[in-house]
Symmetry: C2
Subunit: 327 residues, 2 copies
């Protein structure tokens, strides 16, 4: 996994540098406070996966102008950052990217309004592309994401949440953004329709797998490695697939114990340990891994629409890396 990460990072280092520069150059607020609050989150070292996907999707379709692509690519990082700012307010999250969340450093209103600015800025940059299809994709993503977040909030603490409803939430809140980033990469390269479709499919399946891996990590990794508190999802009443699957299969006694834990909203390390045992025993961890693996396979399959090349290999490596996080 570490070798794969190193290999990817080496291949994309110039792209990442271009993205970092474009993130600074395009932020462009009238007001210093906006730069500080947005910068607090933006420059705390995210993976830049979404803009990178856009940039490399365009490359796979033959688009060469890296600087310009980076200016478009940051749209996806700004959008992502906007949702993180609002999510942290909504969930009361304390840590983000290993540091105190913006709504704690400043206050929730400032975090909400800075999120609005980043959302607006994304759409403003999208408008600047002058490509109606690109603008539509980005506007549609924001619409879906906000609905995904509302759906997730409405399901908070709902122990009857089904796998289908969970899939719909992660589709809206994560997969549509990955899908849109890859699709827009193909669109700005003026790719053939089948390639636009293939890269959209690639992004969608990668996004689903990525979110499932993220949801798994909340149970299989510790706070230091996560950059936020382990078990945070459940503490916030956010039921993810490992728990949903386990609740459906657990004995009545185990189910009642889990419900108590979920509805209590907090738990001791030893209770969290007990939960992890149940997730392992009833197969919730394993099942989530299998479902993620299926999306991973479909993401790879989508790339078969392209001839073999180094650019295609890189997108495949990114899939493998996303997968390695959860395995």
């Amino acid at each position: 996994m570490i070798d794969l990460k190193r290999k990817i990072l080496k291949a994309v280092q110039d792209d990442l540098a271009a993205i970092e520069q474009a993130l600074v150059d395009n932020l462009n607020p009238h007001f210093e406070l906006v730069r500080q609050v947005a910068g607090h989150l933006l420059f705390a070292g995210g993976k830049r996966l979404r803009p990178l996907l856009m940039l490399r999707a365009s490359r796979l379709c033959g688009y060469k102008a890296r600087g310009r692509t980076a200016d478009y690519a940051v749209i996806f990082e700004y959008l992502h950052a906007a949702t993180l700012l609002h999510d942290d307010v909504v969930d009361g999250g304390e840590l983000r990217r290993g540091q105190t969340a913006a709504h704690h450093v400043w206050d929730p209103p400032t975090a909400v309004l800075t999120g609005d600015y980043l959302l607006a800025r994304s759409l403003s940059l999208a408008a600047k592309t002058g490509l109606p299809e690109v603008i539509s994709v980005i506007a549609d993503i924001t619409e879906q994401m906000s609905q995904g977040e509302i759906r997730q909030l409405a399901h908070k603490g709902d122990v009857h949440l089904t796998e289908t409803a969970y899939l719909e939430v992660i589709r809206c809140k994560t997969a549509v953004l990955f899908q849109g980033a890859c699709r827009v990469g193909a669109l700005i390269a003026d790719a053939q329709q089948r390639h636009v479709q293939a890269l959209g499919d690639y992004g969608f399946h990668l996004g689903m797998a990525f979110q499932m891996a993220d949801d798994l990590l909340d149970y299989i990794q510790d706070t230091a490695a996560l950059g936020k508190r382990a078990g945070a999802d459940l503490r916030e009443g956010k039921l993810t697939l490992p728990v949903i699957y386990t609740l459906e299969r657990a004995s009545e006694a185990d189910k009642q114990w889990m419900k108590g834990l979920i509805q209590g909203g907090n738990f001791t390390p030893s209770e969290f340990g007990g939960l992890l045992d149940l997730l392992a025993r009833y197969g919730g961890i394993e099942y989530t891994r299998d479902r993620a693996a299926a999306y991973i396979q479909r993401a790879k399959k989508s790339l078969e629409a392209f001839d073999p090349s180094d650019d295609r290999d890189l997108l495949q490596d990114i899939v493998d890396y996303a997968w390695s996080r959860a395995s």
Copy 2:
């Protein structure tokens, strides 16, 4: 004033009906809760001034298709509603349009995310126009508005706020939306550049005057007529022109008393009465009225780019109505 209002309402009743219908038809969420929360604010009887301005600006430029225009016009009401939802969360406002604010009926996170949906929906509808210039105007408005709100928040309780800084806040938070609505009306009618410019100027000056009138009303009207609590701005630490002007001119003793009131964050009816006396005595009310009147004149002047017509008269009547609210 009542006669003028009746005259305007009679002239625009079909437009308002088309706007109401379009507000319902274009909301279109996947998720019932979104419809409920957005609808709670949207259908509590706003004036629909922003969509109406867009629609009538397009009419003045010769555009005829009312149904289609209404579909575009609602963009400006959705945008406005999005900012109201977020503002009420930010300010902790209790009443809006005469009823309990959404973040009290549901909760702040739900109100934030529904605001995000309305913002996203506006931009999605803008994208559907397929007109790059329209999309740019709307994206730019959202960007400016979010910065205006942040600036206002940063100035909360700041007794040294200058008139210039106040003007910049109301420009961003109100005037750019009025300006954008009128400009987009002209753009969809494919108007000449000078008419696009004139209608943009009209909207801008009307918006400035409208916000000043609104800020005045908070001091000269009671809670029942306002649909929200009188003196609410100051209670939220929001300094507007009547107070800014008075603070600059008050005696040291009066200034200290006012500062105490502002920084205390709350006041009795008799203290509020004392404040109103100072605003009258030092001319803060009168000065704000004069400044608003100057914007009103400029709004009317902008319309001179057009030949006299019933459509032009109506936009003039709207200016007079906006002015009559503050006088």
